[in-house]
Amino acid sequence: MTRRVPWTLLVALTLLVVPFLGSRFYTFVATDIVILALFATSLNLLLGFTGLVTFGHAAYFGIGAYTCALLMKELGVPFLLAWLAGGAMAAFFAAVFGFFCVRLTKIYFAMLTLAFAQIVWAVCFKWNDVTGGEQGLPNVPYPDLEWMDAVPLLADFRVGDKFFFVALVLVACCFAALRRIVDSPFGRILTVIRDNPERAQFIGINVRLYELAAFVVAGFFAGLSGALFGIFNRGVFPDFAYWTKSAEPLIMTLLGGMGHFWGPAVGAAALIILNQQITSYTEYWPFVLGLVLMILLFAFPGGIVGTLAGARWRLRRRPVTLPKPASDPVSRNA
């Protein structure tokens, strides 16, 4: 067994420093990264760990965002409660949609997830009375963060910085939970299903049920990240559930490496920073993104983390010859 490094804690503690740099922009980018890292990691529970490709993950992001924003804005529900309700609502819809999706496999599964996501988008887009339709829900309030003034060191920060602290702590909790899920026997069963669904069946695994469970868990965490994003963005819009939003975590996950727990988070950071840098030089960001993806898919199919882990694996390899370095995503890319 390998040494356990408490990565979640280390990363979270490191990021706590960001607001102390004093730049509104850095905090903005860091909040964006932290929230979308959770979105991408929730997707990777399906993509990397269960082997399910979904094109409709934005549905749950959007449902979480709308639920949380509506509860806070219209009903004055406290933030933490509204946030959890966002996740719960997303999980509920993931259960309903997933019930149908897991009956299909491969591309049919992916297309059905997309179809449901487009329905969610259409409802958000047209249901003017509740979702605000095309105009969305602007002016989502920040949570009440005045209590932070009582905390030494934090009192003098801007509200954006304070929200960053809140988002960081909550996302760190989500990462810790996801890590536990992935390392649990349940997570191992998901790995087994990804490895070979048929074989999983005849050792007695109800593959559909476990796929549905993974779908619901992924939807829950996508909802939580959407809820945070709605507040961060100061408004919730139908775009949140649009299919391009579903592509974002896919790209992040590919960029960072879907074979690793931290891949999507690294991918989220890389994509957002890259986007910030490139758009300051050129308006042709999609062109650059296309090039990056092409190079990535051909030269580094394991993503950033996969490539680094592969390099480390080769450096540390002992002269012991093992029969077959197969079926491990790290070595496959090596």
Partner: protein, 235 residues
């Protein structure tokens, strides 16, 4: 007494290509029955039909007298039929122990088989407990596949070509272990091309040819009658 497993006139096809043309067979409790036949006669398809991995177009599969035709594979597994497939692939990213642990956790049936018990049956696996399945040799993978299947505490073990692609020495070890299982009272349905391996184990034999049963009888009949063996199985 009803047979533990009974196939009645099972017809199975993959799309438009029909593979089984009315296979009927019985396996009684405690028996070791072997499906013999050359490559492509339908041995694997028979097993896949029993497991529900390929649903028969016609015919009935009875398990302890109950019709299980069309059941999904995980329910067939939970009903007590353990399948060791031909490709014998374990879950490569999980360690030996994790492979067994997963199987134990999803097992619906309790019984004599625990991780310790299968380690006693295959002591080699105990040494390899922390090694990823992808790094095991072919023989070790075959042991792990059988061990993993035993974790489900099956009443009937379907073994699809267990000796295929293994070195003779490994085959002998495996044969000895399977004989031990048989002596402990496990019912076994074995598919084999190798006559020596199967006749060493089997009580009764079905010889398949072109998706139908060509011969059925006690293994001793084939063992003692070289001419018959030649007629049925010569290449």
């Amino acid at each position: 007494m009803t047979a533990l497993l009974e196939l009645r006139e099972v017809h199975t096809s993959y799309g438009i290509s029909r593979v089984l043309f009315g296979v009927s067979l019985e396996v009684a409790r405690g028996e070791c029955v072997c499906l013999l036949g050359r490559n492509g006669v339908g041995k694997t398809t028979t097993m896949r039909s029993i497991m529900g991995l390929t649903t028969p177009a016609e015919g009935t599969i009875l398990w302890r007298g109950e019709d299980i035709t069309g059941w999904p594979p995980h329910l067939v597994a939970r009903a007590g039929i353990g399948f060791v497939p031909e490709d014998r692939r374990i879950f490569g990213e999980l360690t030996t122990w994790e492979n067994l642990d997963v199987a134990q956790r999803v097992a619906a049936r309790r019984g004599p088989w625990t991780i310790e018990a299968v380690y006693d049956l295959f002591p080699k696996l105990r040494e390899l407990a922390d090694r990823p399945g992808g790094f095991l040799s072919g023989g070790e993978q075959q042991m792990l596949t059988i061990a993993r299947t035993l974790m489900g505490n099956p009443e009937l073990l379907l073994l699809d070509e267990p000796s295929e692609g293994l070195a003779p020495l490994v085959v002998d070890q495996l044969l000895e272990r399977i004989l031990l299982l048989k002596r402990q009272g496990l019912t076994i349905l074995l598919a084999e091309q190798g006559v020596d391996f199967s006749l060493a184990l089997a009580d009764r034999v079905y010889v398949l040819e072109k998706g139908a049963v060509r011969f059925s009888g006690p293994a001793a009949a084939l063992r003692d009658d070289a001419a018959l063996r030649h007629e049925l199985l010569a290449l």
